[in-house]
């Protein structure tokens, strides 16, 4: 099932921060990781990943370094900074609150209300 773009848009940052929190990754790897972990539910628009990564880097949530890939190309890896870790924890908490509330509302609607 494909999720609407609008729904994914608001949660892209938390997705990116979450996967990078496990290990340093490069752009293409991040997209593949998110896709695999979500059982292909989330398929990020590849071009828009980089503005998100650069934005997070500018906010000092991500650190970056360059390494040569096996094919000899320069490859940029991103890792989570301490500030990024705190931001991730904050966003995870917000997300839990948000998703729980959404679930409650949805469940309430599914089983009928008092009215």
């Amino acid at each position: 099932m494909r999720i609407s773009k609008e729904l994914v848009k608001g949660s892209t940052a938390i997705l990116v921060l979450s996967v990078i929190s496990r290990k340093p990754m490069y752009g293409y790897q991040i997209i593949r990781e998110i896709e695999q972990l979500s059982d292909s539910v989330f398929h990020l628009n590849e071009g828009t990943l980089y503005p998100i990564l650069h934005s997070l880097e500018e906010e000092n949530y991500l650190d970056c370094y360059w390494e040569d890939s096996e094919s000899g190309r320069k490859r940029k890896y991103y890792s989570l900074t301490e500030k990024g870790r705190k931001e991730l924890a904050k966003q995870q908490e917000e997300w839990t609150t948000f998703s729980t509330a959404v679930a409650k509302v949805i469940q309430g609607g599914a089983y009928g209300s008092l009215a």
Binding site: G27, E46, T48, Y50, P51, S71, K76
Partner: protein, 527 residues
């Protein structure tokens, strides 16, 4: 794999919207890696290269949309105005290399230059490791400067400590400037055509420039030549910095800097506060009662036995008790008409027949002129000196600019002190006298250079038009006590009729361990 024109176009469309060169280049490499990963993956899955590229670029999305987003993100970072930063470095380097002195102008100009360098290095600190380290070096140097100047006015600071701090400051300055040049040199490498190549030579020229300064200090005779070489080196460096600025502006090279944040504002604020507080604290320390008043020993010369002893010592050396030096009237007239005489001390050498004179002159105002003069021994009238005087008679370089300040400016009276070493006349020093309201001497200010090794002051000669002189026997220069004052010169007053004073210099205070008592009116020693 050769880069496909399609990929090139795609990357160009995106990266051309990113204002900063380095970020643009990094983004280019990052996106290229991503696209090539995709293409390789597709080709492994059986796609042709052309198909794989087309598919990969489709999945990347609209290039202009990505470009707009990236451009918006990176334009949030203010770009460094290289023109301004480099002009700060240019003027900073010029001012901090300033060697001329007009009163207090030198330290002020040097500090202004130093601040400009610091500001330039601060602006460029994010442009590379060399710039960052250079900035850190300048900060450390500034801190050292403040500490050194603050503690230098305190009494009993070991000379070794001050010397060590001075050496550390010089090294920090040296290393910081060299790092700055390395940063600039690296910057030229980033330019498309390499920029002005001479900038990479600036490090070497700067080292030569410093060696020239050292050489000038050692070889006074070649000072002019060395100074010309120094100016040449300075001109070369400034020209290279200016060319670099022009080149960078022409190519519109802009580099990202981090905006001023709270941390950097705090650091700058703290530095500025320290800079303001330091002179005030130094002034406070200087204004406090000086320990010299309790640490020197006083020989009471109002004791007749003591005076007899001093006289005996003088007589045993066959020294006259009083010395009078008179400039021939025609020479005085000549000096009074000299156009070159200014409000500062000037030195003139006059050779007139058998008479050889060295004269120090200070014009106090349009009406009054102070004159200090010295007869060369071979030609001088014999009555003034012993026959055994050594031919080497030093004249202290008291025309140094540091003497244009403090009590040496417009003194009430000027004395000429003659000193003795190993039983021989050793040096001649000017002394500035301040009179108190009742006409007695309030203070006597003498500046002695650190290498002066005089043992006694033989005479203090008044040169205020009269022919009398003050004999000051038995005054010992006590070099054991040194009180440094970089900022201030403090004469010490005992009572209205007698003077106990510290002899001061830019570097050391010498304490007179004897007690001077003389009558200004009669110009005679009181027994």
């Amino acid at each position: 794999m050769d880069l496909s024109p399609k990929i090139q176009q795609f990357l160009h469309d995106i990266c051309s919207k990113i204002p900063d060169t380095q970020t643009s280049l990094d983004t280019y490499n990052e996106l290229l890696d991503h696209i090539e990963c995709k293409v390789e993956w597709r080709m492994q899955a059986g796609y042709s290269e052309e198909e794989a590229i087309t598919k990969a670029l489709e999945e990347m999305g609209d290039a202009s949309a990505v470009a707009d987003q990236l451009g918006a993100i990176h334009s949030r970072i203010p770009s460094l105005d290289l023109g301004h930063a480099l002009m700060k470095i240019f003027w900073g380097f010029l001012f901090s290399s300033f060697q001329l002195d007009f009163g207090y102008s030198k330290p002020i100009i040097l500090m202004a230059g130093f601040f400009l360098l610091l500001a330039g290095a601060y602006q460029m600190r994010t442009c590379g490791k060399s710039f960052r380290r250079s900035f850190q070096g300048f900060c450390l140097l500034f801190l050292f400067y403040l500490i050194t100047n603050s503690i230098s006015v305190l009494p009993d600071i070991p000379t070794v400590l001050l010397t060590a701090m001075s050496i550390v400051s010089s090294l920090l300055n040296f290393v910081s400037v060299i790092l700055l040049f390395q940063g600039l040199s690296h910057l030229t490498d980033c330019l498309q055509d390499g920029g002005p190549h001479g900038i990479s030579h600036c490090t070497g020229v700067y080292i030569v420039m410093n060696l020239l300064i050292l050489l000038a200090l050692w070889i006074q005779g070649l000072f002019f030549l060395v100074f010309i070489l120094f100016l040449g080196s300075l001109f070369y460096i400034l020209r290279q910095i200016y060319s670099l600025r022009r080149e960078l502006l022409l190519q519109d090279v802009r580099l990202p800097i981090q905006p001023f944040n709270v941390k950097s504002r705090t650091v700058f604020g703290a530095f500025s506060a320290l800079f303001l507080i330091a002179p005030i604290s130094c002034g406070y320390i200087a204004a406090t009662p000086n320990p010299v008043q309790t640490s020197y020993s006083v020989i009471e010369t109002d004791s007749s036995e003591q005076m007899a002893d001093i006289r005996h010592r003088l007589l045993s050396n066959d020294l006259p008790e009083e010395m009078v030096m008179v400039l021939p009237p025609q020479e005085l007239q000549r000096l009074a008409g000299m156009d070159e005489m200014s409000s500062h001390w000037q030195m003139y050498t006059i050779d007139e027949g058998n008479l050889s004179l060295i004269v120090a002159a200070c014009r106090l105002d349009s009406q009054r002129t102070r004159l200090l003069y010295w007869f060369s021994w071979d030609e001088a009238p014999k009555h003034g000196f012993r026959d055994t005087i050594a031919p080497i008679v030093r004249i202290d370089p008291y025309f140094d600019s540091s003497f244009n300040s403090g009590s040496f400016q417009n003194p009430d009276e000027t004395l000429l002190l003659l000193t003795q070493k190993d039983g021989q006349l050793y040096s001649m020093m000017p002394a500035a006298v301040r009179h108190s309201s009742d006409g007695t001497i309030q203070s006597l200010d003498v500046r002695v250079f650190p290498d002066i090794e005089a043992q006694y002051i033989l005479y203090a000669i008044t040169l205020n038009g009269d022919t009398s002189g003050y004999a000051i026997p038995g005054f010992t220069l006590d070099t054991a006590y040194t009180h440094r004052s970089s900022f201030f010169c403090l004469p010490y007053t005992d009572s209205s009729s007698s003077v106990t004073t510290a002899l001061t210099s830019s570097y050391q205070h010498y304490v007179l361990t004897s007690h001077l008592r003389f009558n200004v009116e009669s110009s005679e020693l009181e027994p």
